[in-house]
Assembly symmetry: C2
Homo-oligomer: 547 residues x 2
């Protein structure tokens, strides 16, 4: 049996666009002699449509699209992800379904059993879990059709409670008595640099456990926060990876189930390269899928904005990136030189505006109210917010989306000004700790020096007062990031973290900073998620709490 | 049997504070001779702790708190809401539980079966549904103990799909064979002005259906977006409301199950009065529970900021509210006069700062970049953002939280400037349509004129260019709000809305504006929720989508 894996990049709610991509791929697979072509989870709608799933016309369009695609399936069959209405009078309105299309019509439908409702996943909000199991028989092969989480009945431990079975049911155990000869999994599995081995481990384990090949079709591309990395897989019944599709790109592969030997896998890459590629994918799709092409950002001469500018150029092209240098009276002359050097290295347009006239105007306006009070964070924030006004003016006048340059370490401890440097349509580094921003800079510079060495080597500073350094108010970033990673990604307790040899008072101080700044993150730009626990939709904390 | 209803205001994660409130109430009920005192859902943690529930130390504190409370239950029993660890090796980590405390210890525990996971509710994210049912027998009475949603197995229709049974199970049907003589419901049911009759209808229906009295204990108070209205109820087996506790305040009531006749209910109030009281509760608790007492906002002379200032004074006291008047060159002289008159009526401190020097400085800085381009939204936004800088400077310097004054109509169509007038720690009117803002102003003025008549009567204007009126770019608010209510609260399709006699082109234009502005709302301040569908946590829409 010849099966095609279709790893595509969908756009949420773009039924016409998604349909055309799917039909074109079916035609291509048909010409190549495929018996079955497999698409990913919720392919017709894009993953995840959120509360668009509550709109009647959205569901009607989705079901109509499925039927139109079915009409093309002549001499070839397809498995396509899309919502299905729950016809029972009980339970949620919808199922998350894999539609089996053949002979020009819908011939079968499989519903998702395990509905992830944690981190960025929210599926029980909209979907009823499947309770009835059946096998797909096609081209004489008995196939267990599963959707993403369905094969994750045993999860890698990811909470302090140490439990790895968060569901009551195992779909593969339910299907096993029917003797499946192959497992197919339609997926929408987002990228997390620190969990990427888990996925392969789980898939290989399941193939070995049931002794049958497993075909896993993921999607690729990004929708604001979430980045799907692709990397679809064909795994033999012995648990060996036979085929591995591209990462962060569309891909297509035909396999013959009679011949699962010739390995075609992707070259192994470092986690920093994966993050680098993920961020470029995230930027590119955010712009393309929003109908924009041009980005702007403020270039400070520091490392964060340098890395964002370099990534934006790779994602959008130098002609689509324009930057603003906004030195204050506290900016070092080096900062401007470094920013100019970077802009010239990247070949992007830059302009310099001075912020002190506007800052002076605000301070003069506030003088009668602030009389006799010391210069403090209020004035520092005026500088950051004046920069925010300038960059937004460029955005409003020329239609550029502002890229935010806040990194995860700053975002965690609230080291940033709301309505100032926290501005932006998309936060590129909001899920990348400062220590990894340095690694990204080194990676970007691996062939030639793009980011000036000085931006990488100088001590980090917000330059909001004379000789300010980040280390005046924060611990060194390598120590800070160690605390943050354990608290945020690993959900460890303060005493656990102190137990790894870090001063307990420092741990408490850092955790307190994280907790006190929920209100700021509530209003932060959407953050490109690259880890297992990003700020944003996947981490819901009360902003008014005492703990 | 004597039962006390304890309608309290909890603070999320404040185990010591919540515990002391609960213990004090147990002592009081004990002195009055109660056999049982009933608290609300998740009382020890506050509702809803979100991902704090994923922290081991949070759960350990919660269980320890329950045990400490149990130690006080001597000669009296209590039902207290709190999380419980799921001891099985399968399923989510926790149950949402009602703990039965008596004789100084935990004597029984009841788990919640129906886990709301829609709108602002997210319970399947953290909790495993109950599957085993048993009755509580105490003081010789057989009681069906349920938690909030457990009695909502039949929901009022709230989607276009018209389904009213979104669950597979009915906890009361499961318990019915055990012959309960009373139903107790521990609840955390938030206020929605347009759904408040539903709650009473459901509770009365269930009491009648099983022919037994029903005791419903809600909590009160607010946590950022969500406002709990209290209004706990005792309903007879005939479905009559016998007792009704206060709204938006703590309350306590002792009842004797032998004597369910004397009615003690709250006076009926208009929906505008309820919204008014809800917003005051929401402001007061946001400040108190965040450890702040002082608010600031920009007063424009328009109706929105006038209503917010008046509500803030009621919530926090005139001495804790300070306002800034920030006229631009396009502000009418009336605007300043109206704002001054309001501040004087309210007895609050006001200062006037002029924004044009700062605006001029930005425009001068941008002149080389904007040369030859027409004055447009870029310059209008500079004004709004310059005001944003001033008000945030007051906030930063004096520790005032900024109240945002955007109303729901503006928020819906994106009529507001990000990082400008969208600034604020809390959006007071973000769930109140403009037409209801007028009703609120009239309600505030019902005894004496607080808000100047001119602020109410003049045509709404952002005053960002000469003679600008909202109606230049938006339909009249009564028409706009009719479209928005049907689209947002009722989730109707464009053709359904046009079917109510509204120009289909206008309907499309308005819906397009709503959909195009998801990116702005993503960064909006938390909005006090008073309707069945507020922008914020209860309405999750993709920001990158094509539909």
């Amino acid at each position: 049996m010849k099966i095609a894996l279709a790893q595509l990049n969908y756009r949420i709610g773009d039924f016409d666009g998604n349909k055309e991509k799917i039909r074109e791929t079916i035609r291509k697979a048909s010409v190549l002699g495929a018996d079955l072509v497999v698409f990913s989870e919720l392919a017709v709608t894009g993953y995840y449509p959120h509360d668009l799933l509550e709109k009647r016309e959205f569901i009607e369009r989705a079901e109509a699209t499925i039927k139109e695609i079915a009409a093309d399936c002549k001499g070839i069959a397809a498995l396509v992800g899309g919502p299905a209405i729950n016809q029972s009078d009980k339970g949620k309105m919808l199922y998350n379904a894999a539609w089996y299309l053949a002979e020009g019509e819908v011939r079968d439908v499989f519903f998702k059993t395990l509905l992830p409702t944690y981190d960025v996943f929210d599926e029980y909000r909209h979907f009823e879990p499947n309770r009835n199991f059946h096998i797909l028989e096609t081209s004489g092969i008995r196939i267990a059709v599963t959707i993403c989480e369905d094969i994750w009945d045993e999860q890698p431990t990811f909470t302090e409670f140490g439990k790895n079975r968060i569901y009551q049911t195992s779909p593969l155990e339910e299907l096993a008595p029917s003797g499946p000869e192959m497992i197919i999994n339609l997926s929408a599995s987002p990228f997390s640099y620190n969990q990427e081995t888990w996925r392969k481990d789980i898939l290989r384990k399941k193939a070995r456990q049931y002794g049958v090949p497993l075909i896993y079709v993921n999607q690729t591309g990004a929708h604001a926060e979430i980045i799907f990395d692709g990397g679809s897989l064909v795994i033999s019944g012995e648990g060996e990876i036979i085929h591995e599709l591209k990462y962060f790109n569309e891909d297509f592969r035909m396999i013959d189930t009679e011949d699962l030997t010739a390995r075609e896998v992707q070259p192994a890459t470092d986690y920093i390269e994966k993050i680098h590629d993920a961020l470029i994918c995230g930027i590119r799709d955010y712009f393309f899928k929003s109908g924009f092409s041009k980005a702007t950002l403020g270039l400070s001469g520091g490392i964060d904005s340098a890395v964002v500018a370099a990534l934006a150029v790779k994602a959008l092209g130098a002609g689509n990136v324009r930057v603003l240098l906004m030195p204050s009276r506290f900016s070092s002359s080096h900062s401007v030189d470094d920013a100019v050097a970077l802009a010239e290295n990247l070949g992007i347009r830059y302009d310099i505006v001075r912020i002190h006239e506007a800052v002076d105007a605000f301070e003069a306006g506030l003088a009668p109210l602030f009389e006799g009070l010391p210069h403090d964070v209020a004035e520092e924030n005026i500088q950051a917010r004046a920069r925010g006004i300038y960059i937004m003016a460029i955005s409003n006048k020329f239609g550029h989306i502002v890229l935010n340059t806040t990194n995860k370490s700053e975002c965690a401890v609230g080291y940033g000004t709301l309505y100032g440097d926290m501005n932006g349509g998309l936060a590129v580094l909001g899920d990348v700790y400062k220590t990894d921003v340095y690694h990204l800079a080194r990676f970007i510079n691996r062939h030639q020096s793009v980011i000036p060495e000085n931006s990488i080597l100088k001590p980090p500073s917000a330059e909001l007062r004379p000789d300010q350094k980040d280390s005046d108010s924060l611990p060194e970033y390598d120590l800070l990031d160690k605390i943050l990673y354990q608290y945020i990604e690993l959900n460890r307790t303060p005493s656990d973290i102190a137990g790894t040899g870090i001063d307990p008072l420092l741990v408490s101080r850092v955790i307190r900073m994280v907790n006190m700044n929920e209100y700021k993150r509530f209003q932060a730009a959407p953050i490109l998620r690259v880890s297992s626990k990003a700020f944003g939709a996947g981490r819901k904390m009360p902003i008014v709490a005492k703990f």
